[in-house]
């Protein structure tokens, strides 16, 4: 039974929603040009950038998979957060790839690739970025809806209504105000989200106690709950795959890169990376602690009820736990915080993937440059269509296995090849369109192949692992390694006289 009070908590949530929607809609008058809509006129400053990037990279889906990782793997489940924080810090300080990328003046990464590899590679890059990105964000809406239904104690039949309401609220201000609305609402959402996250964490630590949390991890996972290298379900391959994914995500993840490209100059973009880096530790560790607390405090009866659906048992543990311990008032703050987190994530994802569709997939087909008004209209229609896709994919796709595994595997569809292309584009003069084509095809083949096999062969992921030794981690590592090798080999195979 949830402690959610529709009067008190509902009012807090309602107030948050009204303020956010008003703020998002108020800035629409400043949008007169596609560049305003997609990169906010490149006027974003440091603190707004940090708030926006942090809010974007933390959605309900993030909270759910990081809590699931804490529940399943203990503290070791927070390893990807540490790896991404290191990647953000090092790349922010050195400017590796991001400096030449921002200096080039592009709006998307494929636009840069056209300069070195030609129009076809720009288009193909756009296709894999959108394919990987949309598959990735396809589950966001459903997971967000599930969390809100579980925490507020609503009947599950209201899931579709919750998903629709979430989508409509985000879509309205994103379609109207584009990146400007996203930045302004992200700022408000960062504050609401952070206050909620911190308040709930302090309450959990106060109620459960640090020693109970540590003892639960020790009792359930042994030393592996603290060290990913010796956890039986994680190990070296997991850490390597995560390191590759996190470095590639820092370099090429569309929503992250959008902040770099919207920054008012290159050094501001780098400072946004540096300033946000430690947030990625918090992003995994804080909900991870919630997940561990759920493991420690849920009664055997509650755990038994969750286990009745093995696909969602570990995913739903945290929201079920929170629904029972949070008092009235704090429950409203949590729901507002999670709504804030989710809306900022969904809006950013919609606008940044719309940018790639407009700029790089449709762009090459435009015979002549369309007017700014037409460009804005097309962008708004693309955002709306992404919303429709999110709704139906979330409704019909059935998630199997860990949520984080799904997200990193779909992300790898483009992360592997795009990171290889970006590095080669920035630092290797011999890189050409032969190598780029091969890297894109090979990079996408392994993760897509894994997802198809998982859905089509009897036994799914278990059969793939036990019979063929093919795991998600191996699919990711192979994808990165072979995309790199393909880039080098095929670039060298191309005769020098035929330039890209």
């Amino acid at each position: 039974m949830s402690n959610f009070s529709w009067l008190v908590d509902g009012s807090i949530v309602g107030l948050y929603l009204v303020v956010t929607m008003l703020a998002g809609l108020m800035v629409r008058k400043y949008v007169g040009k596609v560049e305003h809509f997609l990169v906010a006129g490149r006027e974003m400053n440091l603190f707004l950038g940090i708030a926006s990037l942090a809010a974007t990279e933390f959605g309900i889906v993030t909270c759910m998979y990081t809590a699931q990782a804490g529940y399943e793997f203990g503290f070791a489940g927070a390893t990807p957060g540490i790896l991404q924080a290191l990647a953000m810090l090092v790349i922010g300080i050195t400017g590796f790839c991001v400096k030449p990328l921002r200096n080039s003046g592009v709006m998307t990464i494929p636009e840069l690739f056209e300069v070195r590899f030609g129009k076809f590679i720009r288009w193909l890059s756009g296709v894999v970025i959108v394919l990987g990105g949309l598959l990735n964000m396809g589950v966001f809406l459903r997971i967000g809806g599930e969390f809100l239904v579980l925490v507020s104690g609503m009947d599950e039949r209201y899931l579709v209504i919750t998903m629709t309401a979430l989508l409509l609220m985000v879509a309205i201000y994103t379609i109207v105000g584009g990146m400007l609305s996203v930045l302004v609402t992200d700022f408000l959402q960062f504050i609401v989200m952070s206050v909620g996250l911190l308040a709930v964490t302090y309450l959990i630590l106060g109620r459960v106690g640090w020693s109970t949390i540590v003892e639960t991890v020790e009792r359930t996972h042994g030393a592996g709950g603290f060290n990913p290298f010796i956890h039986p379900k994680l190990g070296f391959e997991y850490v390597l795959a995560q390191a590759l994914v996190q470095v590639a995500a820092t370099l090429t993840w569309q929503t992250t890169i959008a902040r770099l490209l919207a920054a008012k100059d290159t050094w501001t973009g780098q400072k946004v990376y540096i300033g946000t880096s430690f947030f990625f530790v918090c992003r995994f560790l804080i909900p991870g602690i919630w997940g561990i607390a759920a493991l420690a405090m849920l009664s055997p009866a509650q755990q038994g009820l969750l286990a009745s659906d093995p696909n969602t048992a570990t995913l739903h543990a945290m929201p079920v736990y929170l629904s029972t311990i949070l008092p009235i008032g704090l429950m409203g703050l949590l729901v507002a915080a999670m709504l804030a987190a989710d809306m900022s994530t969904d809006s950013s994802y919609m606008i940044t993937w719309a940018a790639v569709i407009y700029n790089d997939i449709l762009g090459p087909f435009r015979k002549q440059k369309c007017s700014e008004a037409t460009g804005l209209l097309i962008n708004r229609m693309i955002v709306a269509l992404i919303g429709v896709f999110l709704f139906f994919y979330g409704l019909f796709y059935k998630l199997e296995g860990g949520l984080w595994d799904y997200l990193t595997t779909t992300g790898t569809v483009y992360l592997s090849s795009m990171s290889v292309l970006l590095i080669a584009c920035c630092y290797w003069k011999r890189a050409n369109n032969w190598g780029a084509t091969a890297a894109i095809i090979v990079g996408a083949a392994f993760p897509i192949g894994y997802l198809i096999l998982e859905k089509t062969i009897p036994g799914g992921a278990v059969t793939l692992h036990d019979v063929y030794g093919f795991t998600q981690d191996r699919a990711k590592i192979s994808s990165f390694a072979l995309a790199g090798v393909s880039m080098v080999v095929f670039s060298l195979l191309k005769p020098k006289t035929r330039s890209a």
């Binding site: 400043y30 006129g41 974003m44 400053n45 603190f47 206050v195 640090w210 020790e218 603290f226 560790l285």
Partner: protein, 59 residues
């Protein structure tokens, strides 16, 4: 095991302290960034008819 406990304990404290501090700091400074952003855009410094910035080769 004791080392692990210390590591995760210190990391958790660092995360909570850092996150609490940065939330307050960004809530304060971010307002000025938004003011600056909207002021620049409302001054009409961006000409809708201006040509797109040419893309430069990074190498």
């Amino acid at each position: 095991m004791e080392l692990y406990r210390w590591f995760w304990g210190l990391l958790t404290i660092a995360a909570l302290v850092w996150y609490s501090t940065i939330t307050i700091y960004i809530a304060y400074r971010g307002v000025f960034d938004i003011q600056h952003l909207l002021k620049t855009l409302s001054r009409g410094e961006f000409n809708p008819d201006a040509p797109e910035t040419p893309v430069k080769d990074p190498v």
